[in-house]
């Protein structure tokens, strides 16, 4: 299996212009998804924001009803209300948290209708977000600091161009996977944030492996002595010789996220979805974004 990987001699770099176009289209879709679904701008075209209750807050209702929790849960969910339901204290008391839109009284009516039991409403209140604006902003700032740290480390270990290219690829991966997830109308909950953070680590790993090989092959030459053709060949060789590793690793990670996507149920769906796109895009970008951008920069430097 995968024999073709071992004597691979693909002209990846020759196709980089095609890849740039593809990336720009995907980036556009991703940014579209993020603007329309995660910023208030979406309301201009009548799209609801997809931040989950973790970020927006919602309603908290406490009820007493003589029914087991599984019944209550399925009753609420079958009415199309995305809710978090917990048993609290005594046996038949339940805490229901859900996004706004449904009055507590109508929720009680729905429950009574579905369960055929009397429901006592003990408490109905607005609940603030689990991740408030402050926490959200902090997460964004931290991720940017993280990116800066990556940039500096790669600069220190390789060179600045590789650093910048790796960080650009990171943005590329996150925007595309998060953006498309949003564009399709899936909710951004806490697990999506976890997926984005995981993806950052994965993407940078992949870029470094290829960067490392490029450096190894380049080390044999002096930059000024190589013709543009040879330079391109070095990049292609580096990518081709790491291709088995790239494919195998992506495949194992893909196996994990894809099984979670298919079998994991609704709880892990958002996480797995972002990761599934992210794995594919992350692999693609280390070849076609990181390596290609560095190559173009070098070619240009030679040209001038």
């Amino acid at each position: 299996m995968f024999k073709f990987l071992y004597n691979a001699n693909f002209d990846f770099m020759g196709k980089r212009k095609v890849a740039y176009t593809l990336s720009l289209i995907m980036l556009f879709l991703g940014l579209l998804g993020i603007t329309l679904r995660l910023t208030p701008l979406g309301s201009l075209v009548n799209l609801k924001q997809t931040w989950s209750i973790d970020f927006t807050g919602g309603s908290l209702v406490q009820v007493f009803v003589e029914a087991p929790i599984d019944k209550v849960r399925s009753a609420v969910l079958s009415a199309g209300i995305r809710a978090e339901i917990q048993n609290i204290g005594e046996r038949n008391e339940y805490l229901i948290k859900y996004a706004e839109g449904v009055e507590a009284d109508s929720l009680v009516k729905i429950l009574e209708g579905k369960l055929g039991k009397k429901v006592r409403l003990d408490r109905a209140e607005k609940v603030g977000p689990r991740i408030g604006t402050e926490l959200r902003n902090r997460a964004i700032i931290l991720s940017l600091v993280g990116l800066l740290v990556i940039l500096i480390y790669v600069w220190f270990r390789f060179d600045l161009v590789f650093g910048v290219a790796s960080v650009l690829a990171l943005f590329h991966d996150v925007i595309i996977s998060w953006g498309i997830h949003s564009l399709l109308g899936f909710e951004t909950d806490m697990t999506v944030i976890a997926a984005v953070l995981t993806l950052m680590g994965y993407s940078i790993n992949d870029s470094i492996v290829i960067a490392d090989r490029v450096r190894e092959y380049l080390g044999r030459f002096r930059l000024m002595e190589i013709s543009p053709r040879e330079l391109m060949k070095i990049f292609n060789d580096a990518i081709n010789s790491t291709l088995p590793r790239t494919v195998i690793t992506s495949l194992t990670v893909f196996i994990v996220v894809f099984s979670i996507l298919i079998l994991g149920g609704p709880v892990l769906f958002n996480f797995a979805f972002v990761m599934t796109i992210g794995t594919i895009v992350g692999t693609y970008s280390s070849i076609f974004i990181v390596a290609a951008l560095v190559l173009d920069w070098r070619l240009r430097k030679k040209g001038s």
Partner: protein, 515 residues
């Protein structure tokens, strides 16, 4: 077997035995039935819980606490703001305690709902959530002033009549006893003394600029006492200048007792140096939430900005106190309005589905590695398994909380950890294709891949560290697990697999290993 390889083999075996041993409490807790848990004495159970992995609110539920902002202490329009700040401080506190994965939300205008996973004693919850953690330093009043006050109270209680003889004790002073040179009250008289102190005419008797404070509860020969102090009302130094707080066991005067060592920032240290310098020989009360913890005599000027809080019952309490002091005081006092046990937020079927998905994912990775790399794959899988249990064991040691998404992240980390071995094996294959003998291919495969692996992982580790030290809440939890995973991976996939190869080649005299 050569000594070197013997040691290696032992370390490998320990890599499995030690984590499995550390995970034993977790296994016990998870497999124990409810009735068995009830039979266990609470202390033992707590010890078991402390050493085991916590399951998150989504999987096992936990404790539900409603805090309400003390409205009398805040002015109207600030209530909303105060609740927001309470959320922040509580989040910091819980963060200080480790990877707890709590849910902290504002409810309505002036209340905060906190959910903590797992089993936590009510006292501990009260300590972590309910304490304002306002730390103040106040100078003690002159002893004569306090004695005058006590005599004055006696006089008031007896309707202004003077004492006929000094040996006769008054109605107030008869409730007091001497303890370690201070005035103390035995447990049975606490309520009485407190109500006397609250009388308006007694309040009027307190000299202007002074106040009377209770001390922390102390046990002397099986009886409980609380001291009474008269202190200057002005507070020259508070916990706002605190830079760090750590729980330890004290030495010298507080030998063997749990204490919290605190360190002030530069401004705080300067104030502290001035107070201690100007008041050598006087006593300084360390007041926490209005209760005097201790009132040591100032021996000399303290320029370092270090101080210690004593009068704490257990090391656990000291640790919690240090954590809440580091997180800072609540902007307003809160009341615990409701405390309840709360069930998991995920349904049984959701939990089951998630678990099955994760197990399948893990098994598929293992199967793929064996299929693709044969013996090499088996070696990689051994490392993978070691990696997984090591991470879990470290998490259990720091009493971390595992949520469903957290587990998904864990499996993913492990899935990504394969990458290191894939890198190594592919390098070895490359060398083998060049016609190198196995031994040489192995050597250069490892040495070439090592640099790549280090670079790739250090970059991720750096980001994780940024998130860990500056992040909060779920982001921090994520970063902790990620960092542990990477560090463990350095050992299992680079060092441990290499050792296994060495043992196979040198001791079992294999000519080569199928990769």
């Amino acid at each position: 077997m050569s000594n070197k390889n013997l040691i290696r083999l032992i370390v490998i075996i320990l890599t499995f035995v030690v984590p499995l041993w550390l995970l034993q409490p977790t296994y016990k807790v998870l497999t124990m039935s409810e009735s068995e848990k009830e039979k266990l004495n609470p202390l033992e159970f707590q010890k078991l819980m402390r050493n085991s992995l916590n399951l998150g609110l989504d999987i096992q539920g936990g404790m539900y606490v409603v805090l309400s902002v003390d409205k009398d202490k805040v002015k109207g329009e600030h209530i909303k703001d105060a609740a927001d700040r309470v959320v922040e401080v509580i989040r910091n506190r819980v963060d200080q305690l480790g990877v707890f994965e709590p849910v902290i939300q504002k409810v309505g205008e002036d209340r905060v709902v906190v959910q903590l996973p797992g089993v936590i004693s009510k006292e501990r919850a009260r300590m972590i959530l309910g304490k304002t953690a306002l730390l103040e330093f106040k100078l003690l009043a002159d002893e004569n002033l306090f004695a005058d006050f006590i005599r004055g109270v006696d006089r008031i209680l007896r309707g202004g009549k003077m004492l006929s003889a000094d040996t006769l004790r008054g109605p107030f002073s008869s409730l007091l006893v001497a303890l370690e040179g201070d005035v103390a009250v035995a447990e049975e008289n606490w309520a009485k003394v407190d109500s006397i102190l609250k009388l308006p005419e007694v309040q009027n008797l307190i000299p202007v600029g002074y106040e009377i404070l209770w001390g922390a509860t102390q046990e002397v020969q099986g009886k409980k006492f609380r001291k009474l102090y008269m202190v200057k009302a002005e507070t020259p130094l508070t916990g706002a200048y605190l830079m760090d707080a750590n729980a330890t066991i004290g030495q010298q005067q507080a030998a063997g007792q749990p204490i919290v060592q605190i360190r002030f920032d530069r401004t705080g240290a300067a104030i502290f140096a001035r107070i201690t310098g100007e008041n050598v020989g006087k006593r300084l009360a360390i007041v926490l939430d209005g209760v005097v913890q201790s009132a040591p005599r100032i021996q000399e000027r303290i320029p370092t900005g270090n101080a210690q809080i004593t009068g704490i019952r257990s090391l656990r309490e000291a640790q919690d106190l240090a954590a809440i002091l580091r997180a800072g005081a609540l902007p307003v006092p809160v009341k615990i309005e409701e405390e309840r046990v709360i069930g998991p937020s995920l349904g049984k079927d959701s939990i089951q589905k998630g678990m099955i998905a994760l197990a399948v994912a893990f098994l598929l990775v293992i199967a793929f590695m064996i299929f693709y790399y044969r013996i090499g794959g088996i070696i990689a899988n051994i490392a993978l398994f070691a990696n997984l249990i090591l991470i879990l064991a470290i998490m259990a040691m720091i009493n971390a909380t595992l949520t469903m998404p957290g587990m998904a992240g864990l499996i993913l980390t492990v899935g990504m950890a394969v990458d290191s071995n894939v890198l190594i094996f592919e390098r070895i294959r490359e060398e083998l294709r060049k016609g190198n003998p196995f031994r040489t291919a192995l050597e250069s495969g490892y040495s070439n891949a090592r640099r790549t692996i280090l670079d790739a992982n250090i970059t991720t580790l750096l980001t994780a560290l940024v998130l860990m030290f500056l992040g909060t809440g779920p982001i921090r939890g994520f970063a902790v697990v990620l960092s542990i995973g990477i560090l463990v991976n350095f050992f299992t996939s680079i060092v441990m697999t290499r050792w296994i190869f060495n043992i196979l080649l040198e001791e079992l005299k294999w000519k080569e290993v199928a990769i």
